[in-house]
Symmetry: C2
Subunit: 163 residues, 2 copies
């Protein structure tokens, strides 16, 4: 279980979060590392390939535990199912392709906490600012400028790994 790949550190970060180390958790964490911004369904499919007994509910359970423990994070871009990523704690943002739904990370634009202070917060005590950029990814820019008419958009909602 350690001859081939990266592990050990994965187990450690799970343990460090106060969680029991289990096969499904290791698998989900590894896949999350390789393919950030994955849906639960996608993680399930990948995990299941190497650990066939895993259930979808287990994946949801693992993800819930990870996010509660702070070693993973959930993002929910409009129009798509929830995505998960390991990168957590640094307030970074996301850019989503409106054509193929690819998601990339974006570091804070200004300083460290941009936009954290809205002009008028209506008396709210703001503690987080979440920015989502929408646009066309390089691939889709090429695709649309090449043949603007043939809008053969690649399956919008399926989450394409953030290449």
């Amino acid at each position: 279980m350690r001859a081939d790949e990266p592990p050990r550190t994965l187990a450690d970060s799970i343990r460090a979060a106060g969680l029991k180390v289990t096969a499904p958790r290791l698998a989900v964490l590894r896949v999350l590392d390789q393919a950030p911004h994955s849906t639960a369904e996608r993680l399930f499919a990948t995990v299941r390939a190497e650990l066939p007994s895993t259930s979808l509910q287990a994946v949801y359970g693992v993800l819930a535990a990870f996010t509660a423990a702070g070693i993973a994070q959930k993002i929910e871009p409009a129009g798509s199912p929830a995505l998960f990523e390991r990168r957590v704690g640094d307030n970074h943002h996301h850019i989503v392709c409106t054509r193929c739904s690819a998601v990339h990370d974006v570091d804070c634009a200004v300083g460290q906490a941009p936009c954290l202070t809205p002009a008028h917060a209506s008396g709210f005590a703001v503690h987080t600012a979440e920015v989502t950029y929408w646009g066309l990814c390089p691939d889709c820019q090429a695709a649309t400028s090449a043949s603007p008419s043939l809008l053969s958009a690649p399956a919008p909602l399926s989450n394409k790994g953030a290449r």
Copy 2:
């Protein structure tokens, strides 16, 4: 049809958008005006009170037509069903209460299009930046500071009108 209230303009804006003026559409638009950031379900409940024959699907249909025509807009804060508002075209943002889910509008923080240029857009052609602030609304600040233990949070996901 103009003696009592605001109307006339509602029908006009529907017509101006190239849509047929119908009772469900007028009703939805009026309610949307009175209670911005409403869910389809909530609009349905309110509309149905004055127009009992209206179906939920009709409301979804009306909202789809409105958003496609650009006279209404859909926002989808994480963890809550889609919300709709008439305010459209000015890129404003939203602040959501993490306790009661109340939503308020927030004008652009910096200039007119804040954060529109991320530090590194990974080659994306950005065309929109959407900011969601999360925090505690005044009511919930009062409630939690008064009795931090008695976390009697008022039904989180039901969308509380933005007072």
